[in-house]
């Protein structure tokens, strides 16, 4: 029974992508200006643009679920301002 345990504890690098976007009802001044600029540049079919943040996070964890929970914790504790932002985590 020792072996599997040992194996287990040899942690793997797991990679996640986190996207952070402003909540629907929050003004996005940056997105608005970028959108306007693109339209002025002739991209008239552009209907809407919102800007957010993106993180690539590598964690050394035993399994995917623990890892994902860790990333979720990072988001809630620091990466995301939950009052104005939403986020999604996906495995890369």
């Amino acid at each position: 029974m020792l072996k599997p345990l040992l194996l287990n504890s040899k942690k793997n690098k797991l990679k996640f992508a986190v996207t952070v976007t402003l909540k629907k009802d929050v003004l996005d001044p940056q997105g608005k200006v970028v959108q306007q600029t693109l339209r002025n540049m002739g991209m008239i079919t552009l209907k809407n643009l919102r800007q957010g943040k993106y993180f690539e996070v590598d964690v050394n964890e035993d399994n995917e679920e623990t890892a994902k929970n860790k990333v979720d914790e990072m988001c809630k504790k620091l990466l995301v301002n939950l009052i104005i932002e939403d986020f999604t985590i996906s495995k890369l």
């Binding site: 003004l27 001044p29 940056q30 301002n81």
Partner: protein, 225 residues
Amino acid sequence: MNSSVIVFPGSNCDRDIAVALEKLQFKNKMVWHKDTELPKSDLIVIPGGFSYGDYLRSGAIAGKSLILKEVIRASEKGCPILGVCNGFQILIETGLLKGTLLRNKNLKFLSKDVYLKILNIKNKFCNKYTLNQVIKLNIAHNEGNYFTNEEHLKKLEDLELIPFKYCNEKGVIDENNNPNGSLNNIAGIFNENKNILGMMPHPERMINKLFSGDDGINLFSSLMN
């Protein structure tokens, strides 16, 4: 009167605010962000600058520092707390003040003198000004575009939690005289107890007539009252 100025890596208006406080005879102490204890203070100031480079979101990382737990404790006991510029952003990140500070509407850093109309003088910070007085202060920020939900905005207005708004030299508050796109031209807000003030303009930059003016002095002298 004892004051404390909290210093984070990347704070850069810490010395400026200390100079202003000392000019008004505060006994001031600088408090490093890793300290876990606050000296006895009648005023706590979180200064401007770029704490942690403003990386991630301005104020976000400083908002997690240990010393802020102490600041929160002091605020609960009614100690006056002033956050200027980045300090305002930090107060927002800790939840001591509500709302958010978005990028300026023109997406550029904006450094200029602005006029403010004093809208409330019945508080610790503005009692040396007169009601509707127009003062000139300097702003210098990337993210000063105050935003909050309608319900909270209404509360701010109804409970007179907005000490001053951007205006022109004659006191006209309108979109043309809104430097950063802030809701209702808000330049600073109180918490409900009015012992915490967060503001984007820098009062400490206007304390000498020979320089750029001294309209900021009364904010500090109000606190001596």
